[in-house]
Structure formats: structure tokens, C-alpha cells
């Protein structure tokens, strides 16, 4: 979606402000929000693409004004409610008010290390040949889905070159809607900075994105 999260190339946010000796978490509640989100992935049954969409799918003003973990928390709450794992009255009460929904599995402490080590690989087997090869000229499609996509606005319609054929990977645009993994060939596409930002741009800048085949048109 063309939401508040699609920030590449936007102005007015001010300077980058690194915090010296920044702690991993700035408050106790952030640690809990982080860990609860990771732990709930298994019983929740959502995938990372669904999670990203829920985070970004809010009014842009909210997205930009909320802190990082406030957004995580809001998304966890929303996804839990959507799947019937908890309800508004329970959240207001701060307690469970009815029996739990039955879930397949929960994350046990013994499984944490193993689960983290497995991670979430997204490469999948395929019989489809890749449409593009390194060096091919491509143009990014101009798509504007209101649903989840990983094609940022700042590259849409622009000409680039295939730098690398990465592999066949889960396609977030499908996976986020629950329509299935629909794996597609994934490529690194390289752009000249001036193609993206105009002829007056810094000639020493090159930018790349990782783009699935459905985002690409042949320009060769």
C-alpha cells in the first residue's frame, strides 16, 4: 500500500539522530512487546508478510507518530483479535474472560533457540524458468495496490538493470492476503541515482531493490 511506511525519497523528517550507547530496548515494555510478538507467531498462525501489512495499514499520521514498538504492539493486539485469540473486553479487563481458542502449538522455552536458528527461509523450489538474467534491462511496473507490496513508490516506472538472480521466493503481495505463498523469481535490480531522482541528482549514487518478477517489465 502507498502508506506512511513507504518513506523512500520523502522529505521533512529531519536529520538522522544516532543515540550514543543506545540500549537494545528503551523500556521494559518494549522487551515484552518484542518477545510476545515473536512468541505469538506460532500459535497466531500469521506469516511475516501479514504482520508487516498490519503494521503499515493505519493512517499515515498514526504510523509516523507512533514509536517503533508501539506499532509492533498495536499489530500484535489487532492480529490476535482478528483471529479470535482475544477480545476487546478482555483487553479492557486485562484478563482472560473466556476459554482460549485451541491452537496448534505454542513456543516452549526449549524450542526458542531451535526456532530462532531455523528462522523463516523463504526460498522455494520451482519448475518455472526465471524470465530475466543478470544484465537484462528492466522497468519497474507502476502498480499501486492498496494491499501489501514490497515495490516502493520511488522505483515504480523506473528503468534498471538485473544485477543478480536471487532465487524463487515466497511472494509477499500474495502471502500477506492469505492467498498463499505463490513463490516468484526474485532479483536484485540496480538503478542509477539520477534515473530515480532526476538529472540533477548525485551521479555517484546507485540504488538497488530486491524485486519479484511480477514487479518487472522487460525493457530490453
Amino acid at each position: 500500500m502507498n502508506g506512511g511506511q513507504d518513506l523512500g525519497g520523502t522529505d521533512g523528517h529531519g536529520p538522522v539522530m544516532p543515540e550514543p550507547n543506545e540500549p537494545v530496548f528503551h523500556a521494559e515494555w518494549e522487551k515484552r512487546a518484542f518477545a510476545l510478538t515473536l512468541a505469538m507467531g506460532m500459535p497466531g498462525g500469521w506469516n511475516i508478510d501479514m504482520g508487516r501489512f498490519v503494521r503499515e495499514n493505519r493512517p499515515p499520521g498514526e504510523y509516523l507518530a507512533m514509536s517503533y514498538y508501539q506499532i509492533w504492539f498495536a499489530a500484535l493486539e489487532q492480529m490476535s483479535k482478528e483471529r479470535g485469540l482475544m477480545a476487546d473486553d478482555e483487553i479492557a479487563a486485562g484478563h482472560s474472560l473466556r476459554p482460549p481458542k485451541s491452537v496448534k502449538r505454542i513456543l516452549s522455552p526449549a524450542d526458542v533457540a531451535k526456532t530462532l536458528h531455523r528462522g523463516g527461509p523463504t526460498e522455494r523450489d520451482t519448475n518455472m524458468p526465471a524470465a530475466f538474467r543478470p544484465g537484462d534491462a528492466v522497468r519497474m511496473k507502476n502498480i499501486n495496490p492498496p494491499t501489501h507490496t514490497r515495490l516502493p513508490r520511488y522505483v515504480r516506472g523506473h528503468a534498471g538493470v538485473i544485477e543478480r538472480v536471487i532465487g524463487c521466493h515466497v511472494f509477499p503481495d500474495s502471502n500477506a492476503t492469505g492467498a498463499g505463498e505463490n513463490p516468484q523469481w526474485l532479483y536484485t535490480v540496480r538503478f542509477d541515482g539520477r534515473e530515480l531522482w532526476g538529472a540533477d541528482g548525485d551521479p555517484s549514487v546507485t540504488v538497488s531493490v530486491d524485486a519479484w518478477e511480477p514487479y518487472l517489465l522487460s525493457a530490453g
Binding site: 520523502t10 537494545v24 517503533y68 485469540l85 528462522g119 555517484s204 530486491d210
Partner: protein, 210 residues
């Protein structure tokens, strides 16, 4: 910890803080009572990312690449496998790509759309990486962003910005500082800063205070 940054860091202050504390506690209570989470798992997760997984991992990778040409070649050909051989990988590290900084090319990584970051080798990202100023400007004005870090590069150095839009996670391999001949991997790893592995800084020099 400084709070003189206005609203930019969105640190929670005063009543904001207690509101999030209360809400998070309520959510955790409900999830526990329903049996969806095991409290010990929560503790292990927090400890893992607060204490165990961090930029030290990436520093080890970089230091090895500096001393071991075979590893270095492997690292650039197959980052996931090479880094995996050191025991690092898994969550946000299933698909790792190492980027080589040279005198001609300086690499910077960003996730404009959210906060994708190579947790497996760098731990959790700093707040600035996840915030609007970096996400908006890194792809459009990387030199301006580097200036915010006090970093200047020669005008004709190519700056290559990698926007992590998929599940690939990028690790910048900075150039080895001069004056480190014969140094052990352990000693070299101490020079490798987190920012140098994102591309917003350089490794420390041998003379710098640690």
C-alpha cells in the same frame, strides 16, 4: 540516556510510558492465561536479543574475511553458507549477502519500507535505522545521511545503497584499517563497529580508544 531530541525518537515519557507498560502487561497476562505463551519463552527471547545476539557476530565475520582470503571469497559468493559456518544464521539471517567496500565503492544498507536488518549478525537494529529520517533519505541523499554520521567520502566514490525489500539481509564488509598487519582475528574484530557493517561508519583505527 539523552531526551533532548524532541519527538524524533518517540521515547515514551511520563504517562505515555505507564500507559504502554499497563497495556503490554494486560496483553501478556491475557496471552499467559489463555496458554498461548510460555513465560519462560518470553524470558529466553528477551535475553537472546538483549545479550546474546549482537554486532559481535558480524565483527567476527568481518575479521575473518580480513585475514582469510578463502573465507573472504566464500563470504562474497555465498554469504549464508560462509556466515553459517561460524554458527550464525536463522531468523533474519536465512538469506545473507555480504557487500564488499572498496576504495571505489561504498555500500550502505537500508529498509525504506520497514526495518529489515540482518539480526543474525548484527542483533536488533538501532532506532535511527528504523526511523523516518534514515529510511527517507538513505536512498535519495546518502552523502547527506553520511554527513549526519560525520562521515565524508571522496566525490567520485560510488555510493551503492541497498534497499532490503525482500528477505535478503545485507552485511557490509568494510575495508581493513591500515596498521593492523599480523593482528589476530580477535583483535581485529574489536575494530569492527556496527555502523561500519551498515555502511554509515568506518571501522576504528588501531590508534582509537576502544
Amino acid at each position: 540516556m539523552a531526551h533532548d531530541d524532541g519527538d524524533r525518537h518517540h521515547h515514551d515519557h511520563g504517562s505515555d510510558l505507564s500507559e504502554m507498560q499497563l497495556r503490554t502487561r494486560a496483553l501478556e497476562t491475557i496471552l499467559l492465561e489463555k496458554g498461548y505463551i510460555d513465560p519462560a519463552s518470553i524470558d529466553v527471547l528477551i535475553e537472546t536479543y538483549e545479550k546474546k545476539i549482537g554486532p559481535r557476530n558480524g565483527a567476527q565475520v568481518v575479521a575473518k574475511a580480513w585475514v582469510d582470503p578463502t573465507f573472504r571469497q566464500w563470504l562474497f559468493e555465498d554469504g549464508t553458507a560462509a556466515i553459517g559456518s561460524l554458527g550464525f544464521g536463522g531468523r533474519s539471517g536465512n538469506h545473507l549477502v555480504a557487500l564488499e567496500n572498496t576504495p571505489a565503492v561504498h555500500n550502505m544498507t537500508v529498509c525504506t519500507l520497514c526495518s529489515c536488518y540482518p539480526w543474525a549478525v548484527l542483533g536488533l537494529p538501532p532506532l535511527w535505522y528504523k526511523s523516518a529520517p534514515y529510511r527517507s533519505r538513505a536512498v535519495a541523499d546518502p552523502r547527506g545521511v553520511l554527513a549526519d554520521f560525520g562521515v565524508t567520502l571522496p566525490k567520485d566514490t560510488e555510493i551503492r545503497v541497498w534497499d532490503s525489500t525482500a528477505e535478503l539481509r545485507y552485511l557490509v564488509v568494510p575495508m581493513r584499517p591500515a596498521g593492523t598487519d599480523g593482528w589476530s582475528e580477535e583483535k581485529l574484530a574489536k575494530l569492527v563497529t556496527r555502523d561500519s557493517m551498515i555502511g554509515t561508519g568506518f571501522p576504528k583505527n588501531p590508534g582509537d580508544a576502544s
